[in-house]
Symmetry: C2
Subunit: 209 residues, 2 copies
């Protein structure tokens, strides 16, 4: 039992070290030696837990996605209207991207297309599913145009958000991320809000702080 | 003179080989040996032209961006209205992404944040500039809402497009790219078109083929 706890602690330490190195160098340039050093473990201990760099990267993505979905779950559970929830989720992920090295690394690895043996699509699928459900709810609640296709809108929003955070990282190391996410909604909302909700909900981007 | 021509041919061959390898493996995992082999030159010849992997990657991005801007320039020169031109440019880049290995590699390297010593922002800046100019023209032409901020809109569109092509690569190796670019405009247009142009211009996404 103590052994198991110790193994879990070592594993967590390695994932944190891997996140530091992947976040800074990307998948291809990260080395096992650098990760072992960042985690303060031997290469032997590292290989015992993660036999390949690919598995290490997937562990970082899994841990990032777990943290992000946990934080998202808290917001969803508050039971706000679907559109407001979706705007708040975009802020939750942005704040994690600003503060949590594991989230920074996980998102970076997820967008590091095809460096892994198979591209990682699971987190995208979860986000597409969540967004589609919330947009469908928002149509039912009368906040979004009744003729919108929630699946199509979720594809556009998830992909656009992916680009917004990537370009923000490129230009400002994410210093402008909250403002750029706000701008995405400022452009999107007038075209998707139901016409009788434009005045009431046009200020939603201001929730992103 | 003959020597210069020969050197240019070798250089172009290396850039093509580098594009193959970077496009498949990303920056970090691409090796100089693989690139020399793909280009059919010795490692010595390769180092003579490009002393580092960083310089090779930048040469691929430069060549990609030159090809993209050349193709964009042809469309801009046709003198269509600003918004129609912008939609057509999004299709031009998508078609290059579907067919040209140098463009595929250049865009991938550009989004491979921070793997290079400095992130590459030049191509983004050119697109932001072009988009802002065309959106401003579209406001003046009465196609876009008069209260739109063309700079803000260009930031959102360039970043969103970046994400759309990245997610398309992740999910389908770009097989669905044209449809996803069409969907981006389908979502954006209702919110940015001037109200009296919605019927006339709502079909613009159909230009993307």
């Amino acid at each position: 039992m103590v052994k198991q706890v110790r193994a879990q602690v070592t594993r967590d330490t390695i994932v944190d070290g891997a996140a530091q190195v992947f976040g800074r160098r990307g998948y291809g340039l990260a080395s096992i030696a650098d990760i072992a050093e960042a985690a303060g473990v031997t290469k032997g201990a590292l290989y015992f837990h993660f036999p390949s760099k690919d598995e290490l990267a997937r562990a970082v993505i899994d841990e990032q996605h777990r943290r992000t979905m946990d934080a998202a779950g808290v917001v969803v559970a508050e039971g706000r209207p679907g559109l407001e929830t979706m705007v708040l989720l975009s802020a939750v992920l942005a704040r994690q991207l600003l503060t949590d090295p594991v989230v920074q690394a996980g998102i970076r690895l997820t967008t590091d297309v095809a460096s892994l043996d198979d591209p990682v699509t699971g987190p995208y699928r979860d986000w597409l599913h969540t967004a589609e459900r919330l947009f469908r709810q928002a149509v039912e609640e009368g906040d979004l145009r009744a003729d919108l296709d929630p699946a199509l809108l979720s594809r556009v929003v998830v992909a656009s958000y992916t680009g917004v955070q990537l370009v923000s990282e490129t230009f400002s190391h994410r210093a402008d991320l909250l403002q750029r996410v706000r701008e995405l909604w400022i452009v999107l909302l007038p075209g998707i809000l139901a016409s009788d909700r434009r005045d009431a909900l046009g200020g939603l981007p201001e929730l992103i702080r």
